[in-house]
């Protein structure tokens, strides 16, 4: 057991945990934040994507021991009231099907928009390499472009 300190969605957290426990399971199992999803455990699918110190990162292969001191944003903290432009467009454009992979996709997309307010299709391809078995990709792409336009027009990231 080791004790680590994290900042999660702005709140300080201290967790006693086996040091090799992946950050994903620290969030889900120890902190009860189940918005971040388990998909593959080998950083292939992206369902576990969170922001670490602002950058979209796959949390399933980051051991707790090396997560000490990190500033983490999860889907639950993406916006105050669920009103990030991406979240609003996810509903407006009926993006998800089953929805399971979508928090990871949203976090990857939000990470992209935080650093690039006018992403090209190639930028989206590179930043959002998550797997969606339902095949929502066309709507994901459309929603990211719309969200980028909204942000450029004065919305907040």
């Amino acid at each position: 057991m080791t004790s680590i300190k994290l900042k999660v969605n702005g709140a300080p957290q201290q967790v006693d945990v086996d040091p090799d426990t992946p950050l994903l399971w620290v969030l889900r199992d120890h902190l009860g934040m189940t918005g971040t999803k388990f998909g593959c455990g080998i950083a292939q699918c992206g369902a576990c994507t969170v922001h670490i110190n602002g950058a979209a990162t796959r949390s399933c292969i980051i051991p707790a021991a090396s997560a000490d001191g990190l500033d983490i944003t999860t889907i639950e903290g993406l916006s105050e009231n669920g009103d990030h432009p991406l979240q609003a467009l996810w509903y407006e454009l009926n993006v998800p099907q089953c929805g399971y992979c979508q928090s990871g996709i949203l976090m990857a997309a939000a990470g992209l928009l935080a650093s690039n307010s006018n992403p090209s299709d190639a930028d989206i391809d590179a930043a959002v390499s998550n797997i969606c078995r339902c095949g929502t990709y066309p709507r994901v792409r459309a929603a990211i472009h719309r969200a980028a336009a909204a942000l450029r027009a004065g919305g907040e990231a």
Partner: protein, 756 residues
């Protein structure tokens, strides 16, 4: 609902009672509320709510309309569609509608109050005719009772009350009341006569509004509760390994090697001999033969990661199944193909006399598709609490009735002692229809009684213990007449699998080519190679392969006859339901059929129907045209896909569009990428590093969904499966046009497409 549920409260749950009493305002709670309060999710209470209008509909004083559906939400929007159907007749404000998953416990207690119509509890069927009628009637009945309540309160004739947008009003007096204000009164009213339904042409919501799915806001905020997200106070976690060779047994294991590892509580053994069996008549959807417990072990620990690590450290020795353990894909597929010669087969369809047709040009080919894994993004999981007196299960099943009865079968408990709560479902695509994945967590929890246990399959365990896409090998032989069209077709499909119930012939012998009489002599048969490796339902079971085999073969006949493949199909459909020709024409026209394409590009087309190809004005006809470019080096790019379809009418056009887009991409992955390799008797591909999945960067096509071929027939047939069929042959036929190479097996990534 009463003492039987109180019995299921176990010692360890006393403290939840305190929690839930606080949550529920200190009311005396039955088991149903206990569960609801202790593990919050989108599931309905297990007994009647005080002010509900019917078991399906509750309207709160604040005007919220809660609709309780028996249909899981697997991503196809069936949950939302049912709420839309009820809304049409209820006349409520859609913004006030929310949905809960109905209680199978209550369903049993109240004589099947939620399970009406064909496969009513099954995730795919939101709009089947019988259920549509029933749901519309529920809405109409509730509306009429609200009107009657308003008429009573205002002492005016009920005919003068209008009900619209969650408001009741009386024009002459100007009186108005919200549905919520009159819901309690309406709940006490019995109608002497059920109201007639509106004719379809008077619908104001269905077919017009295109709302997003109701669970999306929760998904987008990370608040949606999938099976793996369930939280029950006091819950512990289990990691699972079942016999690596399907049908194998645990020979020995050493629990003492891991019991002292951090957090570990127990090592439990799964043994099918422990299954108690249902104590009453089985009312499950599919029975129990496809969902037997497999031999295995599970480690139970405080946290999942602790359980997983201990499981990996647990010494286990396994022994193979009784009977033959098949070793690898090549061996299996060769034995399957050998059935063409060695097995008499079972005749599926016979007309005319194929032997009487001699001479003429012969087209004869074999086509095959391999094992595949459902690869749903949410790994399998389930949470269960089992005691001697009762069981409570939280699970992401595709079929609530099946999950309920499998729990009964596994525990031997009476149905009234079982509570089951439906969560959201992270995909499944058929993997969640049989509830073997519900039986496992129930068995694990039974071995650790009195404590809620969440069992999670690792991704590797999901792949290793799949119920895979059924491989098949189909041979066709056509004798063409002088006009180039088949005078006789002989065909045999050879399936590979343990479970023949998944060997569906939809999209094979029911295709109009073979049923309409246009080909006068037809003989079609089926064989099966039983193997120990388990197969199951994979989105559009077998249809997803048959459409590839049939529509590639028809294309080969057209080429042999020297006739344009579109014209060829139109002729073969000329004696059949016009919908097929309409779909062909619309997709072809939108795709630019007939235009000159640059070298290395091609356009292919294919058509089918799920699930009723042999019937007129039935099922969903769907036609896909694909345009591809293939580089000389053989790199394939699918540039554009045009889809036309006829499911009769659509209730939510955008939802239908989304399903067809998704099915097209799903089918593309099946076609281009998927082959689960079997090596050393087991799946060799155990995660996404070895099982490629299409991603946004994979040069995906522009997908256009066209509504012009809709016939307007009053059915609203299911839409989720049809689209996974024609995409494979459409791409394959396009590749032939582009390169002259004919692909007769999937996945296409394993073929050399280079040309010069």
């Amino acid at each position: 609902m009463s003492d039987n549920t109180a019995n299921t409260v176990v010692l360890g749950r006393r403290r939840f009672l305190v929690t839930s009493s606080v949550l529920a305002g200190g009311m005396l709670l039955g088991m149903g509320e206990l569960a609801r309060a202790s593990a919050q999710g989108p599931w309905a209470p297990d007994k009647a709510a005080p002010r509900e209008i019917s078991p399906w509909i509750e309207i709160t004083a604040e005007d919220e309309v809660i609709i309780r559906v028996p249909t899981p939400e697997i991503g196809n929007g069936a949950m939302t569609q049912i709420a839309m159907n009820i809304t049409e007749e209820l006349g409520c404000d859609w913004a006030k509608v929310s949905v809960e998953f109905s209680s199978m416990h209550r369903n049993h207690a109240e004589g099947g109050v939620y399970t009406r119509g064909f496969l009513p509890w099954f995730g795919g069927h939101g709009t089947s005719e019988e259920r549509m009628q029933y749901n519309l009637q529920l809405g109409a009945s509730a509306r009429e009772r609200l009107r009657a309540a308003a008429a009573q309160r205002w002492q005016v004739p009920v005919t003068e009350i209008s009900a619209e947008n969650s408001v009741l009003s009386h024009a002459a007096s100007g009186r108005r009341a919200s549905y919520g204000e009159l819901a309690a009164a309406a709940a006490g009213i019995n109608l002497l006569v059920e109201p007639a339904l509106k004719p379809q042409d008077q619908w104001s919501f269905l077919g017009k509004a295109t709302p997003a799915k109701l669970h999306i806001p929760a998904v987008a905020r990370g608040e949606a509760v999938f099976g793996i997200d369930v939280k029950v106070p006091g819950m512990v976690h289990a990691a699972l390994q079942q016999a690596p060779l399907h049908g194998g047994r645990l020979k020995s294991h050493k629990p003492e090697a891991v019991l002292k590892m951090p957090g570990v509580r127990a090592v439990v053994v799964l043994d099918p001999a422990q299954t108690v069996g249902t104590p009453v008549e089985d009312k499950s959807t599919w029975g129990f033969s496809t969902n037997q417990l497999q031999h295995g072990v599970a480690v139970i620990a405080d946290h999942y990661w602790q359980a997983k690590k201990a499981l990996e450290a647990l010494p286990c020795e396994w022994e193979g199944p009784e009977g033959k353990a098949w070793d690898n894909s090549e061996e299996i597929y060769a034995a399957t193909a050998a059935l063409h010669a060695d097995d008499p087969g079972k005749v599926l369809r016979e007309s005319g006399d194929v032997a009487s047709v001699t001479g003429g040009r012969v087209v004869e080919q074999s086509y095959s598709t391999p094992y595949g894994e459902n690869a749903m993004m949410e790994p399998l999981s389930g949470t269960a609490l089992v005691t001697a007196e009762g069981a409570e299960v939280w699970c992401p099943t595709q079929d609530m009735v099946q999950a309920y009865w499998v729990t009964i079968d596994e525990t031997g408990l009476a149905p009234e002692k079982v509570l089951m709560h439906q969560t959201l479902v992270g995909g499944r695509f058929g993997r969640g229809t049989q509830a073997d994945e519900v039986r496992v967590p129930v068995a694990v929890a039974r071995a650790y009684p009195g404590v809620p246990v969440k069992t999670i399959w690792s991704r590797e365990e999901c792949f290793a213990q799949g119920r895979y896409r059924t491989p098949l090998n189909t041979r066709f032989r056509a004798v063409l007449g002088e006009d180039g069209y088949p005078q006789a077709v002989t065909s045999r499909v050879c399936y590979t699998g343990t479970h023949p119930m998944f060997h569906l012939n939809l999209g094979y012998d029911d295709m109009p080519y073979f049923t309409s009489g246009i080909i006068p002599n037809v003989h079609m048969s089926a064989s099966n190679l039983p193997v120990n490796i388990m197969n199951g339902a994979y989105r559009g079971p077998c249809y997803n392969s048959h459409v590839f085999t049939v529509e590639t073969f028809i294309d080969e006949c057209a080429v042999a006859a020297g006739i344009d493949p579109l014209e060829y199909r139109l002729h073969l459909m000329s004696q059949w339901d016009k919908s097929w020709s309409d779909c062909l024409r619309v997709a072809a026209e939108k795709a630019g059929w007939g235009q000159q394409l640059p070298a290395g590009e091609g356009l292919g087309i294919a058509i089918s129907n799920w699930p009723a190809g042999a019937m007129r004005e039935a099922g969903t006809v769907l036609c896909t045209a694909a345009r591809v470019a293939v580089s000389k080096a053989g790199k394939l790019s699918v540039k554009q896909v045009d889809v036309s379809f006829d499911c009769g009418r659509v209730g939510n056009a955008d939802a239908v569009r989304a399903q067809i887009e998704g099915a097209t991409i799903f089918g593309m992955n099946t076609t281009l990428n998927e082959e689960l390799m079997i090596e050393n008797g087991r799946a060799a591909d155990l995660n996404f590093d070895r099982y490629p999945m299409l991603r946004m960067g994979d040069d995906l096509p522009q997908i256009n969904v066209h509504f012009e071929a809709l016939s307007g027939h009053p059915r609203m047939n299911i839409i989720g499966e049809a689209g996974v069929g024609p995409i494979a042959p459409a791409i394959g036929n396009a590749i032939y046009q582009a390169t002259g190479k004919r692909l007769r097996s999937t996945p296409f990534r394993k073929h050399d497409l280079s040309w010069s």
